[in-house]
Structure formats: structure tokens, C-alpha cells
């Protein structure tokens, strides 16, 4: 990192960032130079990136293909339970080494020229290395150890597998901080199993989605379902916790009191409407399985991981940038391995709230695109991030954009802006 506070713009001029954390210029969602730099400085920088669940790769040789930013990665269970991760790129001509989303392998062979890699990502054989009939082949002194796909360091925490390209990334609990660590532990208190996996392609820069997840202010205003059925309203108890770095957050909503709450109706807000009722309200049946009255907890790990608990609906989400103005959101729906059939049925039904067609998540899938479309020629304008003040600190309210400011605090620190 060179410590500079300005960035080269589209035409090579230098762009300055507005002072403080309450303004975000729109060029950060639009410029290819920024997108390239954040691959190196954010995703491949001193950050822990979610790769998969331990439950995805229980046995030796089990692998998933995943991403760190845009970089394709293979994460695999090796010998003695070790978890290895390496770039999904053949050291020979750069083809993908593994093509399937998941599987079990003794080793990996590139389809292009059949170069083989062991489960640690080491190159172990080269087809016709010594040539054919005494002709061709690689030079005698060629050392297979001298090349290979880039390797990641991995760590596991609460059944989650993270990877980092940097030697400077601190241990995961130190990275998250004590408070966020405790919030991850709260949700993932028992072994989980996957009950569904879907990808939601979003028509916006990845940062617009991460901001949306950290934006505790929008949830009950954009999402009619949340406000009308009192899953989360700003007038319910709870708050937002922001890590010291700013990069991670956890927001909580406490169960609604049984008394009437006219806050939204009095403000004339669209999202609380009498005209919406459910013919079968069983979707709203839930259990306080954590025993702490928290009915919604949304948590992010910088840069692109989300852990979600909405009532009994548990999921992890992985943010994968796809160029400047598109991304994939990879959803993995979870249950606990000891779920009773009744509990599992509740989760399956509550999953309707989230995912590509979710009563709530569908709207988050649109709104980033609305920003991307509206700001197409507004690269020199700025968004306003001033709810709840100008700091990026923990607050006892969700009527704040503190966690959004926290994201920019950490992003700018890594980008040297």
C-alpha cells in the first residue's frame, strides 16, 4: 500500500475522496481501475474471505470450487482433516483446474494438458514430461516445485472456512474482534447441514450489496414484509454493533412487544399497510431457539460474507464480484443436524423470506441495480451516509448508517484512500 489519498480516474486525473465518512462518491462503483485495485488490496489483501462450510467438505478429497473476490479457488479437505485452498488456475497455461462446483478427488488434473496437482495444490506430474520416443518434453532440470497455483492460508471457525492470500492477516477471532466473534458463535452454536444452495445474480457493483446488508436503516422501509409483519421495525428493540476496524458488523432486532405500534403508520410509510394479510400466516410461526429474544441478526465479515438469522431461517451468503457492475450472491441455506422434523419444516417455510425470490431479499436484489442505473453519469456526485451521525461506532439503535460508514472506513484503509 502506497498510502496515497487520491486515485487515478478514468482519464488519468486524480480523484480526491470527500473528507469524513458521511459522503461516498459514485465513481467507486463504476471505475475498472478501482475494481482491479480492490482485487489486490481488499480481497487478496489482509482479509479473511469465506470459502465454504466445513460441512461441505467432511471427507478427505471433498472439494468445492469457490471465489476470493473474482479469483477462482479450490478448497479441499486434505490428509488428517487439514483444509487446503489454492487458486483454480493451472500453472501451465492458466486453465481452470477443477470445473465442477463440488466433488471428491484423489488429485486434480487439468483437462487442457493433463498436468496434475495433489490436494495441497502442488504440481505432481506433467504429461509426457520426458517427451515421446526420446524427443520433446520438458528440460531435464525443470523443477515442478518452481511453479504452481497461488496458495491461500485457511482457517476454520464455527464450521466456516475462510482463506487469505496475505501473511499479515491476524487470527480469525482477532480479525473479527470479541463482540462479532460472540455473535457468530451465538448463531452457529451447533453443527449445521446444508438444506439448499442458490445463486442470485445482481445487476450492481458488489459494494452496493454489502452496503445494503450493513444498512440497518432501510430494512423496514424498503421491505413491506418486514414492517407489516413486525419481523424488524426500527421501533423494536435492538441495535447495531460495529467492529473496531469498521469492517464487520452485527445488527439485532428483538421480538416485538405485543402492544400496538403505530410508528410507521403515523409516518405515512408504504411498508406498513393494513391491506396486506396472509391467508395462511404459518410462515410467521417461529421458535425462540436461542432463548435470548433476538428474532433477527444480520452479520457481515469484511469484505464479502454474511451470516443471517431471521427468526429460524439461517443462511450464509457469499459476495462474488463479476466485473464492475455485476455480482453473484451465493446463498447457502442451513439447518442444524439435530433439527426435529417440525423445526426443519419451519426453516424450509421461512426460507421464502430470502434468496432469489425471497419476500425480502428479492427487493435487496433490485435496489442496488436502481442505484447503478440512476448514477450512471453521476460519477462526481456523492451519496449521503449521515443517519446516526458521522462515526462508525456501535449504536443502540438501527436508525443509523454507522455500519455502512464502518465498511468505508475499512475499505479506504486497505485501498490507501
Amino acid at each position: 500500500m502506497d498510502g496515497t489519498s487520491v486515485q487515478p480516474g478514468l482519464d488519468g486525473d486524480m480523484r480526491a475522496w470527500p473528507p469524513g465518512l458521511t459522503r461516498v462518491p459514485f465513481w467507486v462503483y463504476q471505475e475498472s481501475g478501482v475494481a482491479r485495485q480492490e482485487q489486490a488490496r481488499v480481497f487478496q489483501g489482509p482479509t479473511w474471505n469465506f470459502l465454504c462450510l466445513e460441512a461441505d467438505i467432511p471427507e478427505q478429497g471433498d472439494f468445492r470450487t469457490t471465489f476470493v473476490g473474482e479469483m477462482p479457488v479450490i478448497v479441499v479437505r486434505g490428509e488428517a482433516g487439514a483444509v487446503h485452498a489454492f487458486e483454480n488456475r493451472c500453472a501451465h497455461r492458466g486453465a481452470l483446474i477443477a470445473l465442477d462446483d463440488a466433488g471428491n478427488a484423489k488429485d486434480f488434473a487439468c483437462v487442457y494438458h493433463a498436468w496434475r496437482y495433489d490436494l495441497c495444490g502442488n504440481l505432481v506430474s506433467i504429461a509426457f514430461r520426458h517427451g515421446v520416443n526420446g524427443q520433446g518434453g520438458m528440460a531435464k532440470e525443470f523443477d515442478m516445485r518452481s511453479i504452481g497455483p497461488r496458495k491461500l492460508r485457511t482457517t476454520t471457525f464455527c464450521g466456516l472456512v475462510f482463506g487469505t492470500m496475505s501473511d499479515a492477516t491476524p487470527p480469525i477471532e482477532e480479525y473479527l474482534g470479541e463482540a462479532v466473534t460472540a455473535r457468530v458463535r451465538r448463531v452457529l452454536k451447533k453443527p449445521v447441514e446444508v438444506i439448499g444452495r442458490f445463486t442470485q445474480p445482481l445487476p450492481n457493483n458488489w459494494k452496493l450489496y454489502v452496503e445494503n446488508v450493513k444498512d440497518t436503516y432501510h430494512a423496514s422501509l424498503l421491505h413491506l414484509f418486514f414492517a407489516t409483519f413486525r419481523i424488524t421495525r426500527l421501533s423494536q428493540g435492538g441495535g447495531v454493533l460495529v467492529s473496531e476496524s469498521g469492517g464487520h458488523h452485527a445488527s439485532t432486532t428483538l421480538a416485538a412487544p405485543k402492544t400496538a405500534d403505530s410508528t410507521y403508520r403515523d409516518a405515512g410509510l408504504r411498508s406498513d399497510s393494513d391491506s396486506f394479510r396472509l391467508a395462511d400466516p404459518s410462515l410467521l410461526d417461529s421458535r425462540d431457539e436461542w432463548g435470548d429474544g433476538i428474532q433477527l441478526q444480520i452479520l457481515t465479515v469484511f469484505p464479502g460474507f454474511v451470516l443471517q438469522q431471521i427468526h429460524n431461517c439461517i443462511a450464509v451468503r457469499q459476495v462474488v464480484p463479476r466485473g464492475v457492475d455485476a455480482m453473484d450472491l451465493n446463498w447457502t441455506y442451513l439447518g442444524f443436524t439435530d433439527d426435529t422434523p417440525d423445526m426443519r419444516a419451519i426453516r424450509l417455510k421461512q426460507n421464502n423470506l430470502v434468496g432469489p425470490a425471497g419476500f425480502v431479499s428479492m427487493e435487496d436484489g433490485c435496489v442496488g441495480g436502481f442505484v447503478q442505473r440512476a448514477t450512471v453519469t453521476a460519477e462526481d456526485e456523492e451519496s449521503v451516509v449521515e443517519m446516526g451521525g458521522s462515526s462508525a461506532e456501535t449504536q443502540a439503535t438501527r436508525a443509523t448508517e454507522a455500519a455502512v460508514r464502518g465498511f468505508w472506513k475499512e475499505w479506504r484503509s486497505l485501498m490507501g484512500m
Binding site: 444452495r197 396472509l278 391467508a279 395462511d280 441455506y333 426443519r344 424450509l348 426460507n351
Partner: protein, 67 residues
């Protein structure tokens, strides 16, 4: 009922179901289901792996009804 008669009735049901959606008569659509039913939209990959969750998952007719 013979197999042929059953097949004809199923084909007629499928045709009526598709015609209802094509004509945007969505309020009539839940009428094609019994009260206790499972309506699930998922992907081939989720189906193959035996994952129970859906993109849409409704275990009663009323969950798709408009009030």
C-alpha cells in the same frame, strides 16, 4: 378408470393449468391444488443433492392465495 382415461384427464389438467397462467388469471391458479400440498421451485442441482429447500416453498394452498 382406464390408463388412457387417466392420461387424458392429466393432460387436460396440465393444459388448463398452463392456460390459466398464460391468461394471467393468477387468482384462479391456487384452485388447481388441494388444500394440503407442496409447491416448490428448486434447481436440478438442489434436487440431485437431495436438498429440501426451494426458491419458493409453500406447503398449503392458502400460502399462494390472494386475500
Amino acid at each position: 378408470m382406464t390408463d388412457t382415461e387417466t392420461l387424458l384427464r392429466v393432460a387436460a389438467l396440465n393444459t388448463a393449468y398452463a392456460a390459466c397462467i398464460d391468461a394471467d388469471r393468477l387468482e384462479d391458479w391456487p384452485g388447481f391444488f388441494v388444500e394440503r400440498c407442496l409447491y416448490k421451485i428448486t434447481s436440478a442441482d438442489n434436487h440431485k443433492r437431495g436438498y429440501a429447500a426451494g426458491i419458493v416453498y409453500a406447503d398449503s394452498r392458502a400460502q399462494r392465495q390472494h386475500l
